[in-house]
Every structure is written in C-alpha cells, then in structure tokens.
C-alpha cells in the first residue's frame, strides 16, 4: 500500500511517499517516517486524514494501534492513502515531566530551612529560633515530594501519551516557585507558630491523607493493564466508592492539613490554585466516565458519586 505524507501546507514531506505492507498499522507508518526523517520519532508525529479545503470540522487523528486499511473507508479497494503530518515538537514521557516537577520542591524547600538564605533578605540570623513545627513541617514536605517521586517510578502506570517539552518548563515554574514561596514563609526567622494542638491535628490529619492518597494510587494502578492501554474503567474500592477522584480529594486534604499546622497565606493560596486545577481535571474525568458508562447497550451505568470534594461537588 502506498502512503503519501504531506505537511499541513500541502507540501510533500517524503518525496514519492512510502510503500508499506497492506496489513501495516499506523504505528508501522510512524516508524517508517521516523526511519526516513530521524528527528521525527513516533510520539512527535500527529497524523490526520486530509480535510476538504475550507472545511471547519476537526480532522480525524490516526490511532497508532489501528490498521491503515481502516482509514481508507472512502474507497476500501484503494491502495493509496494520503495523511497529513504535524510536528508536535520535542516530547518527553510523563515520568520525566513528573520527576522534574517534584524534584524542585524536594530540594528547594530544605534550602530555606538549613541555609542562611534570609540574610540576603535583610534579616539578622543570630536571632533566628527554629520552632519545632518548622522542623516537622520540613520533614512532612520532603516526605510528600519523595512519595510523589517514588509513586512516579514504582506505582503510576502511564499510557503511551507523551507531553511536549515546553510543558516541563511551564510546570516546573509552577511547582518550583510555589515551593519557594511557601518555604520562604514557613522557615522565616519572624515566623509565628500556632498552638501545639493545632499543629498535631493538622499534620496528623495530613499524614493520614497522604497514606490514603498512596492507597488511592495503588487502586488506580490496578485498574490499568501493565501495557498501559486498557482503556477506561470505573474506579472502585476504598474512597472511590464515594468520590470519582478520591486521589485528588486526599491530595487536597493533605495540603489542608499542612496549612492548618503551618498557617501561612502562601500555603492557602497554593491550596486554592491546586484545588481549582484538580477540580477541572476531576470534572473532565467524571464527565468522561459518565458518558462512557451510560448504562445503555449492556454497558454498565456509572454510579452516583461526588466528583472531588464531598459534600460540595
């Protein structure tokens, strides 16, 4: 079968096209393109079917698992197919993205605790008294990001999807600067602690939420097949019986615990921003699951559940 590969402006990407086996899949085509043009590895490629000129519809994106034959629907006997190529730019795996996101806060926060950074902000350090809550909060914070990195490598199962390299810079800017912003206040020489009971309640509750969060991630891992392409399933068990995105719920509550114990405006600002981002993701996931499991034609019906923050949403 002959495949013509054009760019979005209509120019031929590979002169004369490619000749592939008639049983070839989209993945085979991507490999063939990669072989001809080294820098376009498969995850960098987005292949679509050509649109009629002037059409406002969204183009059909070729799925890498499917056979190329499935896309010659207009004319099943045709032995030639034209696909439109788009370069998505450099890609990284989600594992790499997550690792760098979490590494920043893990390293930067303790710098504020251990190193004399505040003298550069004009404070005299002889007067600095380290409150017990500042020490415990530092361990709590580091445990949290250490846990996230460990989960990234040993628990999460990622699909084949990759992320553009530019997202690494954007996400790192978000995590790293918020990490510094919170660390600055919690480790400040003029920090005012709350009473002991409040610290204990906050961090105790937060720790329980962190452990619950770990358990949620284990449940989510078991929903996905090891190959990472098992499709969507209804999450069940533990808190998932009540909330669709119990993993976000526990994450939000563990930050709430940290903030109750440390009481900084910076921490609460981060909590609000993080909670609203996760709420958007949760709403999207909830909608997707409701649509997929609509209870029709033998498909199971998605049970009634909270989305992310019971008893509000």
């Amino acid at each position: 079968m002959k495949v013509l590969v054009t760019t979005r402006s209509g120019r031929e990407l590979i002169d004369g096209g490619l000749v592939l086996d008639s049983s070839a899949t989209v993945a085979d085509l991507q490999e063939a393109i990669h072989k001809r043009i080294k820098k376009y590895y498969p995850s960098r490629q987005r292949l679509t079917l050509p649109l009629q000129p002037g059409s406002k519809e969204k183009p059909v994106v070729l799925q890498y698992k499917k056979s190329l034959k499935e896309y010659t629907t207009g004319n099943p006997n045709s032995d030639t197919i034209t696909v439109v190529f788009k370069d998505l730019g450099p890609q990284v795996s989600y594992r790499t993205l997550f690792f760098f996101e979490y590494l920043g806060p893990l390293i930067l926060y303790p710098l504020f605790y251990y190193l004399p950074v505040y003298q550069y902000f004009g404070y005299k350090l002889e007067k600095r008294v380290i409150h017990p809550v500042q020490t415990i909060a530092m361990y709590y914070w580091c445990f949290h990001y250490f846990k996230r990195i460990m989960e990234t490598f040993f628990i999460h199962r990622f699909s084949h999807a990759t992320s553009p390299l530019s997202n690494v810079f954007r996400n790192c800017a978000y995590y790293w600067s918020f990490g510094c912003y919170i660390a600055y206040y919690v480790n400040h020489p003029l920090y005012t602690p709350v009473n002991d009971l409040q610290v204990k309640i906050g961090l105790g509750f937060g720790l329980i939420m962190q452990i619950s969060n770990l358990y949620c991630h284990v449940i989510l891992r078991n929903l996905r097949s090891p190959s990472g392409n098992g499709g969507y399933q209804i999450p069940r068990g533990f808190l998932f019986n009540i909330v669709t995105c119990a993993n976000y719920t526990t994450e939000i509550y563990q930050w709430l615990g940290f903030n109750v114990a440390t009481q900084t405006v910076a921490g609460y600002v981060f909590l609000i921003v993080a909670a609203s981002i996760m709420t958007n993701w949760a709403l999207a996931k909830h909608r997707r699951l409701r649509r997929l499991f609509d209870g029709k034609e033998g498909r199971p019906k998605y049970p009634r559940r909270w989305v992310i923050l019971p008893p509000f949403l």
Binding site: Y185, V186, Y191, T192, Q263, T264, V265, A266
Partner: protein, 221 residues
Amino acid sequence: MAGVLSLLRRFYLIAYNWIVFAGWFQVLFLALKTLKESGHEQVYSNIEKPLLLAQSAAFLEILHGVVGLVRSPISATLPQISSRLYVVWGILYSFPEVQTHPIVSSLVISWSITEIIRYSFFGTKEAFGSTPYWLLWLRYSTFLVLYPTGISSEIAMIYNALPYMKESEKYSIRMPNKWNFSFDYFYFAFVVFAIYLPGIPHLYGYMLAQRKKTLSKSKKA
C-alpha cells in the same frame, strides 16, 4: 419582553459611553487649560476628580463583559483596565510626591484623547448602529502615537514613585504576624513591570492587526 430588554441595554450603553466620554473630555479640557494658564505642577490637582471618576467607571466595562452586555471578553479588558486603575489609584492618587511631575501631563493627555475617541466611537455605534469613517479611522489610528506615549508615561510614573514607595512602606505588610504573610508594595511594582513589559509589543501588534482588518474591511464596504 426581549425587545424591551434589548432597548434597555442599548439605552444604558449609550448613556454609559457618553457619560464617561464627558468625563474624559473634562479631563482633557482642564489639563490643557491648566497647562496654558498656570503650569504642569497644577495639572493633577485640577483634574483629579474627573480623572478618578472616569477611569474608575471603566471598571463597569469588566462587569459588562461578565454579564454579557458587550461581546468583548474579560481576558482582554481586565489586564488593560486593571493596569490603568493601578496607575491612577495606586500611583498618582497614593503618592502626592509624584503628582507635580511633568510626565503627568503627557500621561493624561494620551489617555484622554484615546478615551474620548473610544467612548464617542462606541456611543455613536450604540446610538446610530454605525459610525462615520473618520471616527472609525481615528479609533484605529491614534493608538499608533498615543499608545507609545501613554504606556511610556505610565512606566515613567511608576518609576518616579518607586523611592516614595520604599520610604513610606505604604500598603506594605511586614512579618511577624499571625497569618505569616508579608507584602511589599515596592517589590510588587517590579512584578508589575515584569508583566507590563512583555505585554507591550504583544498588545501593539494585536492593535496593528485589528487596524488592518477593520480599515481594509470598511474600505471594501
């Protein structure tokens, strides 16, 4: 019912645009009169009231976008209007030391001419459904000069106020406090610069594109 509502909306927008127009007209008139009769030191004190009123009225434009009274998205109006409110209330009003600076004149003249044209453009459009070509041309051409003069005056005014922000510690919150929070208005001004500066070429380019689109379209028509 829908007819009454749309009539009401139209009536309100006509009134809004022409009232704010009158405010900016007064600003320009008083500024020029003061420059001619006494000098730039008195400009601010003579225009303060109409300037604060006319610029603060722009806040309603954000609301118009939110409730769907006008089509312009708040993502476009919010940054423009909030930066103006920052300069008017956060700089000019808050630091009397900078009110006598000569840049105040170039600032308010750039602003008021722009706004006089803009509000009369919208006011005419709401009232008659269309605008004469010369007004359209002015609306999409004066920015070529007035945007650079306006924005550089804004930045100069923030810059002029910096030493007084640092000295007075106005609007600043210091540690220690129960909520472990601090805010430094002086450093906040640098954050404002950091947001302003990349936005300038972006906005100018956007307006150039708008100019090309609008003026070429109306010529054909």
